[in-house]
């Protein structure tokens, strides 16, 4: 979507997916898009950073190495607090999810870039991966006992009501996990674009141009808030992943 009818750029034009290398496989459109390009850049950046920073493996960390160690410790503590020591086998998963979402969110804050996590299909894939692992691991380790997750400790007559509620609440987890991240990124970027658009409209409105620095200042403040939201949402995604994994590792009774 380019310029709208009134010549103003649409605030959702920034989310347009463009095909860079057209490709069709098995009847599906598998083109290499700008979304895929940014994901590749994110993975490349993360791998390069972690490999470069940990190359020395010195006892007294260098500056880069201490950044990587702080990141590691931060995620490891989150996993230990929310899943427990047995959950540390899921640390690679949570660390990968956290740092991928974090870098994608932060890359989206660069003006003119593309935000991978502002597309529901990306966040839904991540959320389904998490819930899939919870179900597969829970059933594999606990067997039918895993279904006790849906049976809370309440008097028997209440179970008629509680079991469907628990099932619905479990099924809505991937939905809320993916929509939370996607909606935060989408709404934040649209708000930024709309307030930035006010600067242009005010400058074009003659004498009103003298108040155009106001929306500009607001845009700067919003950018700061959005960086905070980008980091927080990555953290929330990791914490909720840990909370859901807790069910798979410990079962209903803990």
């Amino acid at each position: 979507m380019a310029a709208g009818a009134d010549g103003v750029y649409s605030p959702i034009a920034q989310f347009e997916i463009k095909s860079l290398v057209p490709l069709r496989l098995f009847g599906f459109d598998t083109s290499f898009t700008n979304s895929a390009l940014y994901m590749v850049i994110a993975v490349g950046l993360i791998s390069a950073f972690l490999i470069m920073s940990m190359r020395g493996r010195s006892l007294v960390p260098t500056r880069l190495q201490s950044v990587a160690e702080v990141l590691y410790e931060f995620v490891a503590n989150t996993v230990r607090e929310n899943v427990g020591q047995e959950g540390m086998k899921f640390f690679p998963l949570v660390f990968s999810l956290f740092i991928f979402v974090l870098i994608c969110n932060l890359m989206g804050m660069v003006p003119g870039s593309f935000t991978v996590t502002s597309h529901l299909v990306v966040t839904a894939a991540l959320a389904l991966l998490v819930i899939g692992i919870v179900i597969v691991y829970g059933v594999a380790t606990q067997g039918p006992q895993f279904l006790k997750l849906f049976v809370p400790d309440v008097p028997a007559p209440l179970l008629v009501l509680m079991v469907p509620i628990e099932v619905i609440s479990f099924l809505s987890r991937p939905l809320s996990l993916s929509v939370r991240l996607f909606a935060n990124m989408l709404a934040g970027h649209i708000a930024l674009k709309i307030f930035a658009g006010f600067v242009g409209s005010l400058l074009a409105a003659g004498i009103w141009g003298i108040i155009s620095p106001l929306p500009l200042l607001l845009t700067i403040a919003l950018t700061a808030l959005e960086v905070l939201v980008a980091v927080l949402q990555a953290y929330v995604f990791a914490v909720l992943t840990c909370v859901y994994l807790h069910d798979a590792v410990h079962g209903a009774h803990h």
Binding site: S10, P11, I12, V179, R180, A183, N184, L186, A187, I190, V229, L232, Q233, Y235, V236, V239
Partner: protein, 75 residues
């Protein structure tokens, strides 16, 4: 009713949902402050929980904003 007008009215109504998120955020930070002022030494340890609650609460307001944006740009 004109469908376009209905669309804009619906988007405006959807934004009312953000009032709930506003109440929630007020509760969240108000309760945190009242707790933190009673026991300032324990407040630092709860900052992570506070931010987690902030993100979870704020997301609900964003959901209603999302409905409004969907009405404006997608429907």
């Amino acid at each position: 009713m004109d469908p376009v007008a209905a669309k804009y009215i619906g988007a405006g109504l959807a934004c009312l949902g953000m009032a709930g998120a506003g109440i929630g955020l007020g509760h969240l930070f108000g309760q945190f402050l009242s707790g933190a002022l009673r026991n300032p030494s324990a407040a630092d340890g709860q900052r992570g929980t506070l931010l987690l609650g902030f993100a979870l609460t704020e997301a609900l307001g964003i959901f209603s904003l999302l409905v409004a944006l969907l009405l404006l740009f997608v429907v």
